[in-house]
Symmetry: C2
Subunit: 206 residues, 2 copies
DNA sequence: CGTTTCGGTGTACGTCTGTACACCGAAACC
DNA sequence: GGTTTCGGTGTACAGACGTACACCGAAACG
C-alpha cells in the first residue's frame, strides 16, 4: 500500500505541472509566481526546488510533454490513407479531436509561443520547425509532388503548419460552442483544399 | 516657449505608452507592473492614474494606435496596381517595411494577441476580423473572382491574413538578420502565389 | 488678481514575491 | 538496525507590488 518514494515525487511533480497549466489558462507563465503554483498544489514554496530549478525550467518540461501528444497526433494523421481528398477531412477531424483532448496543452503552446520566457519560446519554435520538416518529407512521398523543389516543399509545409496553428487558435477561441467550432472546421477544410489545389497546379521555378 | 498644460500631459501619456512598449518587449503586459512603467518614465506611481485607469486600459490604447498604423499599411497595399503577379511582391515588401518601421507595435500585437489581458485579446481579435472582412471585399473587386461565393472569399481572406501574421512573426524572429529576412520574404511571396494559384483554380461548391 | 483646476509628489499601508537557512520524519540502503 | 538520503516544513527577510491620502505649484480661468 505504501507509496514508494519515487512514485510520491512523481505525483507532486505532476501536480506542479497540472497546477501551472491551470493557473496560466488566463494569463501566461511570465505572469505566474512560484508561490501561486505551490499554494495550488498544497506544498510550501521552497519545496518547489526539489523538482525544478525555476518556473522557466518547468515551462520547458511542459513544452516537451505538449509536443509528445502533438507528435502522436501527427503520427495519426500520417497513418491516414494518402488520398488528397479525404486526407483533408481526416486531418481536420484529428486536429479538432486533439485540441479538445489536450486543451490545456494547446492553450499553453499557443500562448507561450509568442509571450513565454525566452527559453520556452525558443523550445517551441524549434519543435514547430521539426514538425514542418517532417511534413515536408511526408509531402514528398505523396503522388503528384514529383516536380516540386525541396524549397517549395518547405514553403508549402510552413504554410500548412501555419494554417493549422491558426485553426487550433480559432478552436480554442470558439471555446466549445459547437456551431462556432463547426464553422472553424469547415473553414480549415476549405483552406487546406484551396492550398492543395494551388500546390497541384504549381510548377517550381529555378 | 512655456508648454501648454495639455501638451505636457500628452507628452507624459506618450512616454507611458512608449515605456510600456519597450518594457514588455521581452515578456508581456500581464507580467508588467505599474511601478516599472512609471519608474521608466520618471514619474511617481500614483501619477499613472492621471492618464489611465489601469494597465489593461493602457493596453487597449496601444491596440488602437497599433491598428492605426496597420490600417495605413493595408491602405498602401490596396492602392497598388491590382495585377495578381506583382501585387504579391508589393504586398510583401510593404509588410516587411512596416514591420521594421513599427517593430514595437507589431511585437506588441503578436504577443498580446495570444497572451494579453482578456480585454486586450478581444480588442485585437476584433481588429483582425475587421481586416479580414476588408480584404474579402477587396478580393471581390479583383478580376477572376466572380465565380466565388461570399463564404469562399471569407475563407481565403482568413487564410491570407493568417499567413501574413505568420510572416510578421517570422520577420520579428529574424530580428534584423538580413539573410534570414530575405528568406522569410521569399517564403511569404511563394506562399501567397501558391494560395492565389489555388484560388484561381478554385470552383465554389454549393 | 484671486480662484480653480490638475499633473505630479511623498508618505504610508498591507500584501505578495523569491529564496536563504535550519530542521523533520520516513523511505531507502548496506 | 543503524545510517543516509531526500521530499517537504517553518521561520525569516528584504524588496516590490497596488493604491489610499494629503499635499504642492503652476497653468488656466473669471
Amino acid at each position: 500500500m505504501t507509496e514508494t518514494r519515487v512514485e510520491r515525487k512523481e505525483r507532486t511533480r505532476r501536480a506542479l505541472l497540472d497546477a501551472t497549466l491551470t493557473l496560466c489558462e488566463d494569463s501566461s507563465l511570465v505572469a505566474l509566481s512560484l508561490r501561486q503554483v505551490t499554494k495550488e498544489v498544497g506544498i510550501v514554496p521552497t519545496a518547489f526546488y526539489r523538482h525544478f530549478d525555476s518556473l522557466d525550467d518547468l515551462g520547458l518540461a511542459l513544452v516537451d510533454e505538449s509536443f509528445v501528444s502533438l507528435r502522436a497526433m501527427l503520427r495519426e494523421v500520417r497513418s491516414s490513407d494518402p488520398t488528397f481528398r479525404d486526407i483533408v477531412d481526416r486531418s481536420v477531424d484529428i486536429l479538432v479531436t486533439h485540441v479538445h483532448q489536450q486543451r490545456q496543452h494547446f492553450e499553453f503552446i499557443v500562448r507561450e509561443r509568442a509571450a513565454g520566457p525566452l527559453p520556452v519560446r525558443e523550445a517551441i519554435r524549434h519543435q514547430v520547425e521539426l514538425a514542418e520538416r517532417e511534413l515536408a518529407t511526408d509531402l514528398a512521398r505523396m503522388p503528384g509532388t514529383e516536380p516540386w523543389s525541396a524549397s517549395d516543399l518547405r514553403v508549402l509545409s510552413t504554410l500548412i503548419v501555419g494554417a493549422m496553428v491558426s485553426t487550433a487558435e480559432a478552436i480554442l477561441v470558439a471555446a466549445g460552442r459547437l456551431d462556432l467550432e463547426r464553422e472553424v472546421a469547415e473553414t480549415a477544410r476549405t483552406q487546406l483544399r484551396m492550398v492543395l489545389v494551388g500546390a497541384l497546379n504549381w510548377t517550381s521555378r529555378a
